[in-house]
């Protein structure tokens, strides 16, 4: 499957944007609020590397526990699936467990995404190839 981006948890998105800019990353999709996960999201890229900066917007964000656990750090790879339901089923059958079930991702043009966990590599996100 094609890798779409690397998900990167950050405590202060604006500061992280500046730090990544010094490393050659440009903003490719300015910051947007995702009300489903209560996070601010911005996409930046350097060459073929696309990074999703994810900043919990409040203490109640479901991503806040992960930020406390990982600090400023990459925490998932996002892959593109031709058939999201089929991909979810296949991964569940080979050592992955559901972390967050299929939901729309407003900052990915409303494409649906699912988060799964494999103890050997951690969290992966799988996204629809195109918005429904």
């Amino acid at each position: 499957m094609e890798v779409h981006h690397i998900g990167y948890l950050v405590k202060r998105l604006a500061d992280s944007r500046d730090a990544f800019a010094a490393l050659g990353f440009d903003v490719v999709r300015p910051v947007e609020y995702d009300p489903i996960r209560d996070v601010n999201i911005e996409f930046i890229a350097n060459g073929g590397y696309c990074v999703e900066l994810i900043e919990p917007a409040s203490a109640e964000s479901p991503l806040m526990p992960l930020l406390k656990k990982f600090k400023n750090a990459p925490y998932h790879l996002c892959f593109i699936a031709e058939d999201l339901e089929k991909a979810k089923e296949e991964f569940e059958g080979c050592g992955y467990m559901l972390f967050r079930d299929i939901e729309p991702a407003p900052c990915l043009d409303g494409r649906r995404v699912v988060f799964m966990v494999n103890p050997d590599i951690g969290i992966i996100e799988i996204a629809d190839k195109e918005p429904l």
Binding site: G95, M97, F99, N118, P119, I123
Partner: protein, 80 residues
């Protein structure tokens, strides 16, 4: 496999997942008793348990286990 044998293997799983050689779980053990047992580690734990015992939890079982004793009940039922 007896309940004691299940616990022997399960303690090995817990020690590996939580990187703590001193963990010993019992029927009454809950997430707040184990340092680091959050929602993400819960999933890592369940997958590790599945692998160790060669079983598969259902979606309901992964979200409704109240304590380790209930997890052991499910393991024994599936091994039965």
């Amino acid at each position: 496999m007896t309940r004691e044998e299940v616990y022997e293997k399960l303690n090995e799983v817990f020690r590996d997942v939580f990187d703590d050689e001193d963990i010993t779980v019992s029927d009454e053990t809950v997430a707040s008793d184990v340092d680091g047992w959050d929602s993400l580690e819960h999933i890592n734990l369940l997958v590790a348990v599945e692998r160790a015992f060669g079983i598969k939890f259902t979606m309901g079982q992964t979200t409704h286990l109240k304590n380790v004793g209930e997890m052991v009940d499910v393991i024994i039922e599936k091994l039965g």
